[in-house]
């Protein structure tokens, strides 16, 4: 039986929705429902490249990702998770092929270092020592942070979901939010395909579909979705320590603890929309780039490809706030391709925001109003 009322209804059973639910319950608000139209992690969480890095170019992304990394390091214990989130901290190596990239990396690293993130600029020789199969032709240098890395998004989401459920949170999978009812400007209920849940507080954590949820309360949100394709190879014994990414080539490539290589790319010509199909052109194009940069990977066979949605804002920073026009409608959206890695801290601040508590990290700069005010701080480091 589904509950017919809840203090808070969270729309979206990805890592963000589950992390918010856990933190709400932990802070004493246990009358919480999570709605997921498919299964947990069915959206961007379960489709992402599964990297976690702190090497960002804006203060807020740096702070959120550093605090989240602190949490990832203790997540198994914190959530009492009997399995393992498969944290791997062999670093993130960000390749630079142009002088202007080096200049940007220097700025980013100065910002990161000022916030306690231990990143540094290295030369191609050192990059080659860290990744022995790297082709350094044309490489000018790289940014490296050894504490960055990987965690398993399925396990992380499951860990949050199980901990939340133990404290009384109800998670309804295969339950779709169809509408949000209001009286005046107040929210009164969420309508699902399995019935209605009375509530005054709704959290939009719908990732690539956050625009559709926003439209249910009359908001035209400044976000759009964009397909990003990705593929995985057969597993081999450990070869590559860090995640390697290139903004110049628009790719990322890592070897996960299981041994498989996961890699993907951003396509500058990708149209906006909710398409999550995939193409053979992607396989051909990315294979070419990857085997050029890592010739040894020519021997790997691809076993699967898929795609997922980035939910993108004009400044590539998330929107974390309550909608000023719709009291009780909260948003944790627009993560622009890095929602997984900042989910732990997002869960904390969103729960504090919803419960009216003092924020353990000020996130007022990430409100919806910044787009109208024109106070955008552009994140330069997105693949």
């Amino acid at each position: 039986m589904m509950k017919n009322s809840a203090e808070v209804v969270i729309i979206g059973g990805g890592v963000v929705g589950c992390a918010i639910a856990y933190n709400l319950a932990k802070m004493g608000c246990q009358d919480v429902v999570v709605l997921e139209k498919e299964y947990l992690t069915a959206g961007a969480t379960g489709r992402c490249g599964a990297g976690i890095r702190q090497q960002w170019g804006t203060e807020m992304n740096c702070k959120l990702s550093k605090a989240s990394m602190d949490t990832f390091e203790v997540l198994n214990e914190m959530l009492g998770y009997p399995e393992d989130i498969e944290l791997k901290q062999d670093g993130y190596l960000i390749l630079a092929y142009e002088e202007k990239e080096i200049e940007q990396f220097k700025k980013n690293i100065a910002l990161q270092n000022s916030l306690g993130i231990e990143s540094r600029l290295i030369d191609p020789g050192e990059a080659r020592k860290i990744v022995p199969h790297l082709n350094t032709e044309g490489l000018l240098g790289a940014a490296f942070c050894g504490r960055d890395g990987h965690a398993n998004p399925f396990h992380v989401t499951q860990a949050y979901a199980e901990a939340a459920k133990r404290m009384g949170v109800e998670i309804y999978t295969y339950t779709e939010c169809r509408d949000i009812e209001r009286e005046g400007d107040r929210i009164t209920a969420v309508v699902t395909d399995r019935g209605k849940i009375k509530t005054e507080k709704v959290v939009n954590a719908a990732g690539g579909y956050s625009d559709l949820i926003g439209a249910m309360v009359g908001l035209d949100l400044p976000v759009y979705s964009e397909r990003h394709q990705i593929m995985v190879t057969e597993p081999v014994n450990p070869l590559q320590g860090p995640m390697v990414i290139s903004f110049y080539h628009h790719f990322y490539c890592q070897q996960v603890p299981h041994g498989a290589f996961i890699m993907g790319q951003g396509d500058p010509n990708e149209p906006k929309g909710h398409n999550i199909g995939h193409s053979w052109q992607f396989l051909q194009e990315l294979s070419g780039k990857i085997t050029g940069t890592f010739p040894a990977l020519k021997k790997l066979r691809v076993v699967r490809q898929w795609s997922g949605l980035y939910n993108i804002t004009p400044d590539s920073q998330p929107i974390l706030c309550e909608a000023p026009e719709v009291p009780g409608f909260y948003m944790a959206i627009g993560f622009s391709g890095h929602g997984f890695m900042i989910a732990p801290m997002t869960g904390v601040v969103m729960a504090e925001l919803i419960l009216g508590k003092d924020l353990s990290m000020p996130v007022h700069k990430l409100d919806l109003g910044r787009f109208d005010r024109g106070e955008l701080v552009l994140e330069p480091s997105v693949v």
Binding site: N237, G259, A296, L297
Partner: protein, 104 residues
């Protein structure tokens, strides 16, 4: 063991080739699956499972099951049940999930 007469399938006789398995020389028929030549040579264990190191033998025979992944000419994860035998092939057991050589 080698099946020569089968009620449905026919086995065209390829020419005899030499190959090595774990450093020893064996003979097989050119173009037959490597696994067939190994079977004929009495080799029953093709792989060890990566997690528990349990022996794995000839199983699905159609390239699906990962039971016969071996190192062939230095390349890991070769499905020997569907890979044709050639003269001079170097076939070896794979350690764990197989090694890619960074220098290649």
């Amino acid at each position: 063991m080698r099946i020569k007469d089968h009620p449905i399938l026919s086995f065209p006789e390829g020419k005899t080739v030499e190959f090595s398995f774990e450093g020893k020389t064996f003979i097989g028929k050119e173009g037959e699956p490597i696994a067939a030549a190994l079977h004929d040579a009495g080799i029953r264990v093709l792989r060890h499972s990566p997690r528990h190191n349990r022996p794995r033998g000839f199983f699905c025979a159609i390239g699906n099951c990962s039971s016969c992944l071996m190192v062939v000419n230095g390349e890991p994860n070769v499905k020997v049940c569907v890979t044709p035998l050639r003269q001079g092939m170097k076939v070896e057991y794979q350690k764990g999930k197989g090694d890619i050589n960074a220098a290649d």
